[in-house]
Subunit: 202 residues, 2 copies
C-alpha cells in the first residue's frame, strides 16, 4: 500500500511547496490531502455513486447522457449534461455516429490509468510533462454472435503502452505506471470480476 502519510523530510518539502506551489500537474495537492484528511475523520464522504442514462436511437446507434452523481455526502449536477453517441461502423452494420462500446471501454481505461498516474504523481510531488497512451484490444466476434462457446464475448487481451515525459528518474516513472494499475478503478473493474445486476422494468 502506498500511503501518503508524510515523512519528516517530505513534510518540510511540502511546507515549502504550500507556500511556493500547491498545484502539481494541474492537480491541487493541498485540496487532495485536505480531502484525504476529511475522509479519515468521516469515511462516508469517500462513497460515490456515478450514473448514466442510455437511449437507443436506431440500429447500432444509441446515446448515453451523463450528468448528476452522488459523492462527498451530496448529489452534484454538472452545469451541462455530457451526451455521447455510440454506434457501430458499417462493417458491423452501423452508421458510424460515434465509437462503439468496446472502444468506449478502451477510452475509459486510458483515461482512468492516466488520471490515476497524474494524481498520484502530484501527491508525491513528481512533475509530469506529457503522458500518451496507446490501447488495443483483441476480440473475436464469434463469441458475441453466439457461434462458439469456446470464444469469450469480450476482449481476449487489452494492451496499453504508455509514453511519459518527465524529468523524474525513470525508476520513479516505472513505479508510477505500476501504481496507476494498482489504484485505477477502471483497470480494476476490467481486470477483476465486478458484479453487474441487470433488471427489466415492467
Amino acid at each position: 500500500m502506498i500511503s501518503y502519510t508524510m515523512s519528516k523530510t517530505n513534510q518540510i518539502e511540502n511546507k515549502q511547496e504550500q507556500v511556493e506551489q500547491k498545484i502539481v500537474n494541474g492537480v491541487n495537492v493541498t485540496k487532495l490531502f485536505g480531502t484525504m484528511d476529511a475522509i479519515r475523520s468521516s469515511p462516508i464522504i469517500s462513497k460515490f455513486n456515478f450514473r448514466a442514462k442510455g437511449e437507443w436511437i436506431k440500429g447500432g446507434h444509441n446515446q448515453v447522457t451523463i450528468n448528476d452523481f452522488y459523492g462527498a455526502g451530496q448529489t452534484h449536477s454538472r452545469s451541462r449534461a455530457f451526451v455521447y453517441d455510440e454506434d457501430e461502423p458499417p462493417v458491423l452494420l452501423g452508421e458510424d455516429h460515434g465509437a462503439n462500446a468496446g472502444e468506449y471501454a478502451l477510452a475509459a481505461l486510458s483515461s482512468c490509468l492516466t488520471t490515476t498516474l497524474i494524481y498520484h504523481a502530484a501527491a508525491q510531488g513528481v512533475v509530469i510533462d506529457e503522458v500518451e497512451s496507446t490501447l488495443s484490444g483483441d476480440i473475436d466476434l464469434q463469441g458475441y454472435l453466439g457461434m462458439s462457446e469456446n470464444i469469450r464475448n469480450g476482449y481476449e487481451k487489452i494492451k496499453v503502452t504508455f509514453k511519459v515525459k518527465s524529468n523524474a528518474p525513470k525508476e520513479k516513472i516505472r513505479e508510477l505506471v505500476e501504481l496507476a494499475q494498482n489504484r485505477s478503478p477502471v483497470f480494476d473493474i476490467i481486470s477483476n470480476p465486478t458484479p453487474v445486476e441487470v433488471s427489466l422494468q415492467e
Copy 2:
C-alpha cells in the same frame, strides 16, 4: 448457446422477410446472416482489434481519440476521428471538461447491452420500439486513494435497469435482456477478469 441456425419454419419466414423487409430495428438482418455465413467459411474475419489513443491535457483532463480498427481481414479508417474529453468534476479536483473514466465505463456498458439486445432481437425478427437504460455504480474512493486495502478500487456493484417498449410478449423481452448479458462484450469484460498488459515505452 443461442444459435441462429434456422429451423424449417424460420427459413420460410425469413425468405418472406427477405422480400418484404430485410431491416429489423434498423439492423440489416440479411447482411448479419451473410456475415455469419462468411465467418463460418472463413473464421479469420471475425477477429477484430479496436484501438484508442489517449493524451493527457492537464490535471484530471485528458483526451481520447478513436479512429481506425482492424476487422474482417483489413484495417478500416473512419471518415473522421472521434475525440472524447474526460475529466473529473470539481469535487474530485477536475474542471468538468467531460464525464470521468468511471462514467465512460458505464456509458460503454449501457451501449453494449443495448446494441446486443437490438442486434439479437433483429436476428430473431423481434421488433423493438424503444430501449432505455439507467445505470449506477457504487464506488468508495478510499480504494483509489490507497487509504484501505479492504476496499476495492473500482465499482463495488453496478446496477442496470432496462425499460423496453415492444409488442413482443414480455417473456420474449425478458429472454432478450438475459441474452444481452450472455453475449455483450463489455458486460463480459466487466463481469469477468480480462487480461490487461500495461507497458512503458522508454
